[in-house]
Symmetry: C2
Subunit: 100 residues, 2 copies
């Protein structure tokens, strides 16, 4: 069984270029996590490319064995560090969690 | 190259059970599309399972060769039919589009 965690964020940058920079910083912070968080099976993070302004800016796709794996990820110190980067720039967050 | 289109919706149902029913109708309408829309390479649709109320309710993951494939999908008559089902119930929509 795989629990998939999908999160999208809208970022605060006033221009697309500003949000490109913010997104790059967030994506780098997130993409460091698979090597650091044992319960995280897979993670990709993506910069939105179309419908700038209407679409959100960054999407995370992360896979876990189960809800306990997601919970351990959420409180993991390295995830907290990545979360702090996100909090600097995110003005909105939307998530869903579901079993594949 | 693959263009991935991820959309999440929050639904109007007052209770989780009401939103379960709405989500099932939306997911069925979306999952019919791969057989009907030529430019749609893959599609899965998922009901959110955790953090009900905070999380959104349904997430679509759809893959295309490129932006033209996504545009053809958006205007395809069968997608328009599915979109009408979504419009009955969705109170919020968040999307991102990115290249894998």
């Amino acid at each position: 069984m795989t629990l998939r965690h999908i999160v999208s964020w809208k970022l605060s940058g006033e221009t697309r270029e500003a949000r490109d920079g913010q997104a790059a910083e967030i994506i780098a912070a997130l993409e460091a996590l698979p090597a650091l968080v044992p319960t995280l099976n897979a993670l990709t993070a993506h910069r939105n490319e179309l419908f700038d302004g209407d679409n959100y800016d960054v999407t995370l796709i992360a896979d876990f064995d189960d809800e306990a794996g997601l919970s351990a990820y959420v409180v993991h110190p390295d995830h907290v560090v990545a979360g702090a980067v996100i909090k600097k720039y995110a003005v909105a967050r939307v998530a869903t969690d579901f079993t594949l």
